[in-house]
Structures are given as C-alpha cells and as structure tokens.
Amino acid sequence: MNKTEDFISLEHVHKSFAGVHALNDLSLTIKKGEIHCLAGENGSGKSTLIKVISGIHAPSEGVIRIGDKRLKRLTPKQAIALGVQVIYQDFSLFANLTVAENLALNTNLAQNKKFVSWKNVYALAREAMAKLQIDIDLNKEVGSLPVAQKQLIAIARALMFNARLIIMDEPTTALTGKEVQVLFDIVRQIQKDGIAVLFVSHKMREMLDISERITVIRNGIKVAEGPTTDFDEKLLTYHMTGQEFTNEKYMLEVDAKETPRLEAHNYCGKGFQNINLCLHKKEVIGITGLLGSGRTELAKAFFGMQKDTKGQLLIDGKQVQLSSISEAIKNGIAYVPEDRLSEGLFLSQSIKRNILATTLDSGDSSFFIDKKGAAERATRMVAEIGIKTNNPENPVNTLSGGNQQKVVLGKWLLTNAKILILNGPTVGVDIGSKAEIHKRIRNIAQEGDLAVIMFSDDIHELVHNCNRIIIMHKGEFVDEIPARAAEENDINNRLKELV
C-alpha cells in the first residue's frame, strides 16, 4: 500500500455555530492506510471535525478533496460509501441483542432483506470476527460484555462496511492499560489491510505510542502537525493547552510519631485481604493495580460499602466499623467515585445543589435548611475550588468535564472530611483542568490536614502527585514505592510483570 497517497483532505474548512467558530481555516490530510492522531482538549473542535468528515455537518467554507473530486460537503451516505466509519464513545451497539445480531443486522438492513436468515447472520458475524482474529461468543447479549469487547464488536462491525477510514473517538477512555494494548494491536492489524485510522484523543502517552502522524487543534485552529517522531509529551501538552506545566513530585516528610489519620491492620473483605496501611495527614498516597486487583473493592469498603469486613480499622487512633456510607461520612471519609456522570453528579440540577448535596443537614435542624449558611457555603466553595461559571444556579451539565469534577470534589470538601478517597480523580478531564485539580488536591492535603488516597490507572498522575505509591495485586498490597524512587516506566514494568 502506497502510504503517500491521500485518502481524504480537508482544505481551509470553516464551521461556525451561531457565530462561534468551531473550526477556523482548518486543513487536514489523512493518507491511505496511516494511523493519524487528532489531538486536542475538550471543546477544541475535534468532534466537529469528525462530523464534517462523516458528513453530519456541512462546512461553512472550504473544500473536501477525495481523489480528484473536490466537494463542498459530504452527506452521511456519501461518507459511508467512501468507507468512512466512525466509532463513537458509546459504540452505538444494541445492548439487548446478541453479538451475532449486532454484527449482522446492519448488513441485512442495508441489503433490504425482509426475512432474517439465521444461518446467514451467523456466517456474517463469524466472518467479521475472523477479520479481527478475535473470538467472542456469538450468542452472548452485548449488554453483558465488558467494555473492551464491546469496542471490538464495534470495530468488527465497522470493518464489515468495506471501511477505508475508521475514526475512533476517544477509544481508550474506559479501557485498562492491558486492554489498550489489545486495541492497539488490532489497530495495527487493520492498518495492514490499507485502512486508515483516525485516532481522536487527548491522552498523550497513547497518541505517541500508536500514531504515525499527529495533528493538534486548539480552539478550532490547527496549531501543530507532523510525524509523531517530532513530538514528545511536553511539546504535545504545550500545543494542546498553550501553556507549559512543570511536573514536580510531591515530597513529604511524615512525622511517624504522630497518630495516623487512618490505620488498617489485616483488613479483609470481599476482593481484598491482609491490607496493612498507615496513612498520616498531609499524605497523598497512590494505589494502582491491574483490573481485578481489588482496588475498587478496597476503595468502596473504606467508604462503608461493604458490610462484613474483618480486621481493624482506626481513624485518628480510634477504632471504627464502617458498615454503611453514612457511618463512613460521619467518621470523616469522603469518596469521589470513579464514574463522575453516573455516581457523582446530579446533571440537571444546579451547581449549587450539587455542591450542597452532602451537607444539607448541617444546620440546626435536619428538616429546615439553614438558608444563609447554605448559600454562603456554596458561594465560598465555587470560588475556593475555582469552578468557572457566572451563575451557580445553572445546571451542572453546562460545565466542562474538569469543572464538573471540581463540583464533585467541592461537595466533599464541605464535609470537613479527614480522609479523601479519590477513585480515578481525572478520568476524562482535559490536561489543563487536570493540572489544576492536581494542584487543588495537594493544597487540600497540605492546608486542610487531609489524608488523601488516590486510586488510579494513570501512573503519570500517581508519580507526580503522591508521596508514595502502592501496587495492589490479587487483593493484596505487593509493592510500595516512595516518591523519590518513583519512575513511570519502572512502575509500568512492575505492573506488566504481574500479568
């Protein structure tokens, strides 16, 4: 396959919505069979660009060039006929249908068949799987499969339409490190068949790892373009955010004589056992591990979500039994959950109500609200944690991901918590907000005398924010690395050895 031939080219494309320039004089060329990365923060215009390529949006100005043809716009039908397939974050699969049905029905529909031949359905599905050299039970309901397998099915389905270009929108968001590697292998395999892949992401490591060329956009303008070898993480961050970030580690001398904030002795529960931990105030410790290492179970147990735990748990030297969430909160534990949207936020409710959700009962009465106090708390926290809004009465879904995460964090800071548990604190948050959230967490730990436990997959995040990092495996702590010795590659290697 000749990689110098262009598959599709956008030339000086503009797109504006109600006067706002989403894309501004943007040119992008995707060559046949290349893995191209489109990098940019949330709101930079990535989605709009995808929609122009897939024919959903018509550009206000500019030309789309395919081969010798120069077009004003594409229609969705044209785009599909050209072989453009988009895999969105939600995969657009039918959760209550089987794998075989999901794979075959679109083709059946496209051929306008009135009756379903099940033999044909299975044959089509098997063929699709064979292309990817994967093996998933065809009779399973798609809804019951893990995210990574759903994604493979979405890819297999895209390939059935003679795809020439597959666009993947943030494909690694819900994947663990190992699953990302599997995905990358498959992407490389697809490439061998001459299919181009446009990888849309804001995760630096992955972009540098997989792509051959990178285009960076910011505020709808192309700010950098070139072969991947010309970029490194720092440069990419700079282009994406327009700012430079210094990465300083969090070093802390712990006074061992002081009573620890949290102590665990032989703490056991479902999914973890023999946990021994001594956590002092001002500490920010990181806990990582592979999928199934028991870290989520441990995080939830600390938040009172497991009833029958064994062993001893002490907070400020006092023995506690955390058998319910309210018990945990009473003992000063705060928990920022893994999935912000489904577990952390009340999306259609106001920013103010979201922030006050944990402290509605803090007045003298548990029925009437201390109105003045509540308003004061909400205003103070919005300012303190730097939520960018001009009106805290606006619903929380008007905020960006980073600001939403600040709302979840703020809600817990109001409880005067002693121990802050963060489960994936910056998943799906763009780099700018990420740095800001990290800074806040440090400040909180330092000034608020909090002890912070950060559960995360993002080793980079742990190395630069924690004074020590613990690796969990099969429900136990297997390794502990102090900040000064923490190296990202080293930790990644240690994790790989556990597989």
Partner: protein, 337 residues
C-alpha cells in the same frame, strides 16, 4: 467569577420555558372560552363552581408529581382518598348517626375524623414506600396493587353502595365559603404552598429531587435514599387523604370507586405541568396552572353543551397536543445549543 451571580431574565425564561408556555396556553383558553360564551363563561357562578371542583384534581396531581419527582408514580392516590373517606364515614356512622349530640362533641368527632384520615393516608403511603424501597417492586406495579387493595378494603367495609350520613360540619368542608372563597380552595392553597415550601426549601425536598435526578449519586453523597423515598410516598398518601376529605365533604358521601378517572388525569396534569416523569423536576405552581387551564377548558365546553364524552376526548387531545409541542420546543432548544 461570581460577579454576575444575579440570575438574569434570560436565564429565567430559558429555565421556565415550559411554565411560561403553560401560562400562555391557559390565558389563551380563557380568552377563547370567554369569546365563545361571553355571557355564561364569565359569570361569577362559573368561577365559583370551578373553585369548588378543581382542588380535588389539583391535590391529587400534586401528590402524583411528588411520586414522579422520585422517579416513580403513585396509581393508588384515588384508592387512598376513597378508603380514608370511607373510614371517616364509618367512624361517623358508629358515633354520630341517629344521636342528638351537642355541637362541641360533633366537632370533636370531626377533628378526630380528620386526624384518623390523615394518619391512615400516611400509613397507606408508607405501605407503598415500603413495597417500593424495601421489597423492591417497581412503583407502577406496587401502587397499582395497593390501589386495588384499598378499593377492595373499601368494598368490604361498605359492601358496595356509598356511605352517607356525614355530619353537617364535615360537608361544610366541601361546600362552604370563608371570606368569599370556597373552603376546598383555601385547603388547596394552604396545602399547595406548604408542599412547595417543603419541596424547595427543606432538606427533605431537595434530597427528594436529587434522588429523582440520580439515585446512585444520591447514595454516594450519603443521602438515605430509601428513607427519603418512603417519606415521599407518605406525603403523597397524606395529600390523597386530604383529597378524600374534600371529596366526601363535597358530595356528602364516600364510595369505593368514586372518581377513578382522576388517577390518569392526575398523571397527565403532572406531566402537562412540566414534571419530568423520569424524576428530579416538577413544580407545584406548574400543576396549579395546568389544572386551572384544564378546568377553564372543560367548563367552557360544558357551557357550550358538548357531551361529556366529547369533553374527555378534547382533554386527551389537548394533553397530547401540549406534549407534542413541548417535545418540539425542547428539541429546537437542544439544537440551538
């Protein structure tokens, strides 16, 4: 960052778009009906009869809205209303009928009757809440079941026919006027204001809305989800019981199957009022406007001597129309974003 914290008019319009539209439609109905029946529609008598009849549907709709705020529904509201009224009727039959008691004693029994009605309403709501939160039955099935159960109890108690013989003081609740305003109307405004206050200004009300918006996030925020939902259904039960008092007061009778068409009407009024059936959003004021609008519509049609069946048809068509308009409005607004 907080300099512009003053909510501006634009925000208000955006947020309350459905409500403003509802008010506009109600005014429109009023104008059209006045134009079609200039003499009869604008007569004092017409408004007086509306003032006596809207509180029943109004309170049931508020009760329905509260259940919907939690993301559920309460199909047992009318069952509870009739059941509680029948219990009060039985109490009066046993104590007052055929006896010549001094007014003070009668008053005592009437007050006792009210207390019993409210307590039974709360207990009935508690049963709903228990089935939904502890047993885990879907609200629509749980309340349909208990609704039937209350109808059954009522039938067993009455044997079928209506209970009559409520004391005069009791009928005054449904038929008298105080300061020129119908008593049911007073009850409605007091109860509606109290409910609006509870929903918007108390910790219980806000928790209820938060649970309706995202139950999981509520649990993760340390909110006692089951306890709050249980109380929500108790409140629904109490509002239904108050409706029971007004209904039996107005008709001076209580029957197991009185006003059964109210159930679905209450659902529709609540939705018409902009309540989100998936939970988390709804206003008492919206319900009030929606009920008044519908009352104008039906009284206007009655005056024009439309058949009762046709009135039902027009109500249904009207509700569907509003929902279709809302759907397109919301879609257009979403597209603007």
């Amino acid at each position: 960052m907080l300099k512009n914290a003053q909510p501006n008019i634009r925000d208000f319009f955006n947020k309350n778009n459905n409500l403003l539209q509802l008010i506009a439609i109600t005014v429109l109905i009023f104008v059209v009906m006045s134009a079609l029946n200039p003499v009869k529609f604008l007569r004092y008598y017409n408004f007086e009869s509306i003032a006596f009849s809207f509180p029943e549907l109004g309170l049931l709709s508020i009760a329905m809205m509260i259940a919907m705020l939690t993301g559920g529904i309460d199909l047992s509201v009318v069952g509870i209303a009739n059941f509680t009224a029948i219990i009060a009727g039985k109490l009066f039959q046993a104590t007052l009928v055929g006896k010549d008691l001094p007014p003070s004693v009668t008053l005592m029994y009437v007050v006792l009757g009210i207390v019993i009605v409210l307590v039974v309403g709360a207990l009935a709501g508690m049963l709903n809440g228990f089935l939904i939160t502890r047993v885990g039955i879907t609200p629509i099935l749980a309340t349909m079941g208990t609704g039937q159960l209350f109808v059954g109890f009522s039938l067993v108690i009455t044997g079928g026919p209506a209970i009559v013989g409520f004391p005069e003081m009791w009928s005054m609740i449904g038929n008298e006027k105080v300061l020129g305003v119908a008593v049911p109307c007073w009850i409605f405004f007091i109860v509606a204001t109290a409910t609006a206050y509870i929903l918007n200004k108390t910790s219980f009300g806000i928790k209820l809305m938060l649970i309706g918006t995202n139950a999981k996030a509520a649990v993760y925020s340390g909110i006692d989800k089951n306890g709050i939902i249980l109380k929500g259904y108790m409140l629904t039960g109490v509002l239904s019981a108050i409706t029971g008092i007004i209904m039996s007061g107005r008709t001076n009778a209580a029957k197991s199957d009185y006003g059964s068409s109210y159930v679905l009407q209450a659902v529709l009024v609540a939705v018409l009022a902009g309540t989100n059936p998936a939970g988390g959003y709804g206003t008492v004021f919206g319900v009030f406007i929606a009920v008044i609008g519908l009352m104008f519509l039906s009284s206007g049609l009655m005056i024009m001597r439309f058949s009762n069946f046709l009135v039902d048809f027009i109500w249904g068509a009207f509700l569907l129309l509003i929902m279709v308009v809302n759907y397109y409005n919301n879609k257009r607004r979403a597209a603007c974003k």
